[in-house]
Subunit: 304 residues, 2 copies
DNA sequence: AGAGGTTACGGGCAGCGTAAGGATC
DNA sequence: GATCCTTACGCTGCCCGTAACCTCT
């Protein structure tokens, strides 16, 4: 009981190997070398005198004992975090959160979130992946991300989510292209190129559906970079189809780009915060809570 | 979360310091040097950024945060043992159990207990203290023992106990001193010196009370060593007042010492197993269970 | 041949012990 | 002055990284 004790670190490593079904990926997630992972697992097995993974290591699968240990390990890990959180001051919440973010969020309230998180948990670090929502969803499912802000809903058993914020999508154009200030019909809008999100994204496809429904054709510029979309709109290349919220923070864009008056209905972009169900990343949960808070406060400044 | 993680060892050390209210005693119990204990506590406080013991270290008392941590630490420690026990094979139950034992138990079923424990948990070690029950009880209260087999009942809030076995006390003498085989009255017995347990022990005092009640005087040899009692009886020095059970295992004594027939009522010796309520020593609990089992089987061989 | 699990080996650090200091009764 | 907490310091052993190997696809 007292000589070569199991520690929380070993349990954490074991949990990740078990969850990710891979030594290499666990090592990657934990930012350590694969041999270190292997050594911990071997030490565990030796200490318990039990095989935790199938003798055939090619297929990384838990033995019955391994499954049993996983249950205990996750419970212990949860209680450990609970303890730290309860007793330690805020500086105790450390570590790295692997965060996936939709670009729309980057352009709206992500900086606010970071400011607030940093004020509350100064020791917390991030590994940020800005990408389109379908990709982020896959990364959540494969547990390569601890947390993501992306377009919902998420239909996956292993990923939980909560609503964050809802952005209306509108047609936005630079004044200089000379569109009237009165309400304008879609058939006039499509005379200009439409600039929007990348293919495979929800707003892009929504726009395509709208055009098909109305029997109209239009040139669509799809950009993986929102910055590029805004820049093109500012350059008078076409009409951007984006949530006005994302130009709220950009002075030059906010001053020159104008939301067109139309009666056209484009579906809102419903953002959610998502995270894998296990292993529970306590710090990520904290960030999620703050994100929900920040996102809820956002609409107040949304004037466009 | 990942850099200088708390481990179970630190929690264990913290628990003992908190329970024993002393760094030195905790170090002693854990078989390590006091500075090692201090370093662990300091590391804990630094990690949590919280004082766990009163700033005035002379009085080792928990701060409110310390109390809170103690709750969590003991829960975690319990779950840790549970996990080890559930998944690990029997060789996983290691460590040292500080065991206090009444000498009567040593002479009856203690060897059987050791044999069985050793067969089940080969890695388990003992630190045995053979002593009289009042002393053992004090050591239990002060948590200097993990487990004890002693005369009950134990009336202490912090010590739990379960009944083990009940030994009748009888007058036992060597054949050569020529006492009749028929029933013999106390007034004849007291012509010989009576040899029994040490002063301050329950059986000694019971014998004194019996004599006082009957208005008889007798020479009493009180011995702290049961071996000496038996030897004196074998040498024909007097009549031993002991549980016959303790000579069951000694061939020479069993063949020559005889239980006298009397109608005299001496109270039975009721042995119990006792342990401090916290911290829970899992291995000690296992030993207690086996002891109860062994003690229950004993009477079957008790023929004297 | 590439990917992933495994073994060999070396360096850095943390935990423990010894020895000595300091405070309190 | 005895006891107990505390500090200083050196050593051992463990953990992790690098590099190379093995095996299966």
């Amino acid at each position: 009981m007292t000589v070569p004790m199991i520690d929380f670190r070993s349990l954490e490593i074991f949990i990740w190997v078990a969850e990710l079904r891979s030594f290499r990926r666990a090592a990657e997630k934990l930012n350590i070398a694969p041999p270190a992972v292997l050594a911990r697992i071997n030490a565990l097995e030796q200490f318990l005198n039990v095989r935790l993974f199938e003798p055939d290591r090619r297929r990384v699968a838990l033995t019955p004992e391994g499954h049993e240990l996983l249950v205990h390990a996750e419970r212990l890990n949860g209680m450990y975090s609970e303890m730290i959180e309860k007793i330690g001051d805020r500086s105790t919440t450390r570590g790295i959160v692997r965060l996936g973010v939709s670009e729309s969020i980057v352009h709206t309230w992500l900086p606010v979130l970071f400011a607030r998180v940093n004020a509350t948990y100064p020791q917390l670090g991030f590994e940020i992946d800005v990408n389109i929502s379908p990709y982020l969803r896959d990364r959540l499912v494969s547990k390569d991300l601890d947390l993501a802000f992306l377009l919902g809903p998420i239909n996956s058993q292993n990923v939980h989510s909560r609503p964050l914020c809802s952005f209306p999508v509108a047609f936005v154009a630079d004044d200089k292209i000379g569109l009237p200030h009165e309400s304008i019909a879609l058939e006039h809008i499509v005379k200009w190129p439409l600039i929007t999100f990348a293919r495979n994204t929800e707003p892009y496809m929504a726009l395509r559906q709208l055009l098909a429904r109305e029997g109209l054709r239009a040139t669509i510029h799809a950009s993986a970079s929102l910055e590029a979309v805004v820049r093109m709109a500012l350059d008078g290349i076409g009409i951007a189809v984006i949530p006005p919220a994302i130009i709220e923070k950009k002075i030059d864009a906010r001053e020159r780009l104008r939301r067109l008056h139309t009666t056209i209905e484009l579906p809102d972009l419903n953002f959610v915060v998502g995270w894998p169900d296990a292993p529970v990343h306590r710090a990520a949960q904290k960030v999620a809570e703050i994100a929900i808070e920040v996102a809820r406060e956002m609409p107040k400044s949304e004037t466009a």
